[in-house]
Amino acid sequence: MITGQNITKTFKQRGGVLAGREVRALRGVDFTIPKGGAVSFIGESGCGKTTLGRIIAGLETYDSGEITIDGTPMSSLRPRKRQPHFRRIQMIHQDPYSALNPTRTIHQTLDAPLSLRAGQTGRPRSWVDERAEELLALVGLDPGYVLPRYPHQLSGGMRQRVVIARALTVDPEMLVADEAVSMIDVSLRLGILALLKDLRERLGVSVLFITHDVATARYIGDDGELYVIYRGQVIERGNVDTIISAPVHPYTQSLLSAIPVLHGLERPGEQPVVPTEALNESHHDAGCLFARRCPFRTDRCESEPPVLGRDEEFPQEHACFHPRRRDVVATPIERG
């Protein structure tokens, strides 16, 4: 189980006209990822979801807050001692092209971490090769075909599977998939999603899924939790299917309304929410962060910041003063 309390992170712009300007990437985020669970972060680019994912994978530092991995608070350890804990959380990058070293064969790529592990645990050399084949088979690849090849000789989908196999070499507790299918061909995406789901079920690996495409988040499992993040804050949180079918925060509703409708197959939702696009970047931080773009804002929203919480009316948590269910999602047309 991995938890985080009140994680904050501020980036300072370095060069250029914006030098010195601070960007608040995360404004106090809490999260809990149960063992073997599935959690999805969704939001627009720049909302902080990727930063949060990288922090969880130990690839980025955070300014304040606490991350606890299997009961061990990271603040109690010195940076060097944190590494083995963060190693149990492996990142699957968005771009399988740059995630594999183009000058090394897949065999070499898998060999390095496995050899390291064999050395640490006193396993024989032969284990390394057996394990490499086992892992490739596990992610649905033919070891005989894949092992001697270089990354450029594989398709995008195969490469992403190799990346997943490599992450599995360290027996991770959790995989962080950051837009892991957005660069994969449409016809192959579902295969990767199904693989992640399968690994969850078979190995008990928890999956953190970071995406801007809400529909893909569903494919991790119907018990998954969804975090909707806006400008560094979680604004709605709950079961994936609950939020998709009955979102209450206007931002979630606008995200869902924006998903293209496959006319002919689907009927658009009755009450789409179209936010004003943030074309001028002058952010204001008082009150609700979404207020300026929200079609339903009131005076209260402009002055008072809402807090993420639960009320009796809705099953999910939300951070909105005026939560209301709206029918925004396209429904499949029944055919018979």
Binding site: L262, P268, E277, A278, V329, A330
Partner: protein
């Protein structure tokens, strides 16, 4: 010329009828929308293994005043097709066969030098893939606009700037401010709007958008697509959208063309193709797209992987290796073109299914297409025909997507 005007005028009426353009001014500007006929287009790339076709035998008509969406995965040749419309295929690629007839411009494949350069921009606007990054980082948008005007020998640069401001204003931005900005001061969605402005400001009436929304957020994407639709109607354009995302096409396009391995495998009115896809690839693609509601178990990845330039079969059907309906004949014979109403499919299995039911099915090889688009009288309804709203009407009259049930 008279023919062109006739077509355009006819089309203007149709656009109006379709309810897309609301007022008379729009109808007036719609008179300029050109039709485009791509005939037997083949583009080959020189590789160490010889010349390989990235795009082969494409027959596609873009009826004047419509939005056509071309969907394909990586390596399907969709971007090459888009570049061919401008005759802008770069070496080692070249157009080896076929023609691209644009009303008022003639066969673009035959143009070269100055004529071609002038045609780009004035007749054909192109919004490049990753337009978000195609601006010059060192110059303000305004300067780049003036450069564009000068290179096309525009006398009235003030007028050009005015038009640009109008267009930007139309897309929800402060024109003056944007023209004074550098690329890095604009967000992705704003840059994409600037790209669309630059493509339209010289009054081009044929617009090609290559992956207009990749790397944009959902909400920005929805807004850009809305803008594309509205500007298309207001200015009376013929628009081609190239994308890997069926959702994008579903949102904007009247007609949908599906590419695979350099071939057009299916085309027709968007709603028809989406509600009743005929080609096994289109069917598989639709099944592979994760949806928000409905049974999660129904979604299925397509087995296999898309072919690359080197692995596309030289003979027979390009999709056969991933196809569930594969037959022996797919190995050797080019798939026949099956025309049903306004829809065209290239598939042996579809042809075989139709042959059993409907003897009237046109099963030509390869060259059916633009001129084979059936006239209104074509009796193509069969027992299992989709209840397509537009069936029986010429393609150009197809109403906007999403307006019929």
């Amino acid at each position: 010329m008279p023919t062109t005007e006739n077509t355009a005028a006819r089309n203007a009426g149709k656009t109006g009828n379709a309810g897309k353009a609301g007022n008379t001014a729009n109808v007036a500007s719609a008179m300029k929308a050109p039709g485009v006929r791509v005939d037997g287009l083949t583009v080959v790339y020189r590789t160490p293994a010889g010349e390989l076709p990235a795009v082969r035998g494409i027959d596609l008509e873009l009826p004047a005043g419509t939005i056509t969406g071309v969907v394909g995965e990586s390596g399907s040749g969709k971007s090459t097709l888009a570049l061919s419309l401008l005759n802008a295929v770069q070496p080692p690629g070249r157009i080896s066969a076929g023609s691209v007839e644009i009303d008022g411009l003639g066969d673009v494949v035959k143009l070269s030098g100055e004529d071609l350069r002038k045609a780009r921009g004035r007749h054909i606007g192109y919004v490049f893939q990753a337009a978000q990054n195609s601006l010059n980082p060192l110059k303000t948008v305004g300067k780049q606009l003036l450069d564009l005007g000068r290179s096309h020998e525009i006398e009235d640069l003030r007028g050009l700037v005015r038009d640009a401001k109008d267009l930007l204003g139309r897309m929800g931005m402060d024109g003056a401010r944007v023209l004074d900005s550098h690329q890095h001061e604009l967000s992705g969605g704003m840059r994409q709007r600037v790209g669309i402005m630059l493509a339209l400001v010289l009054n081009a009436h044929l617009v090609v958008l290559d992956e207009p929304t990749t790397a944009l957020d959902m909400i920005t994407q929805a807004n850009i697509l809305r803008i594309v639709r509205e500007v298309h109607a207001e200015r009376g354009l013929t628009t081609l959208v190239i994308t890997h995302d069926l959702g994008v096409v579903a949102e904007v396009a009247d007609r949908l063309a599906v590419m695979y391995g350099g071939r057009l495998v299916e085309q027709g009115p968007t709603t028809d193709v989406l509600s009743a896809p005929r080609h096994p690839y289109t069917q598989g693609l639709l099944r592979a797209i994760p949806r928000l509601l409905g049974d999660i178990g129904e979604a299925r990845a397509l087995p296999g992987r898309p072919p690359t330039l080197g692995t596309v079969p030289a003979r027979g059907c390009v999709f056969r290796e991933r196809c569930a309906l594969r037959m022996d004949v797919c190995e050797t014979e080019e798939p026949p073109v099956v025309v049903r109403g306004p829809s065209i499919t290239a598939c042996h299995a579809v042809a075989a299914a139709d042959a059993g039911v409907d003897t009237d099915t046109t099963a030509g090889t390869a060259t059916a297409g633009a001129d084979a688009v059936p006239d209104a009288a074509h009796p193509a309804e069969t027992a299992d025909a989709p209840e397509s709203a537009g069936a029986g009407e010429p393609a150009g009259v197809q109403g906007t997507r999403g307006e019929q049930p």
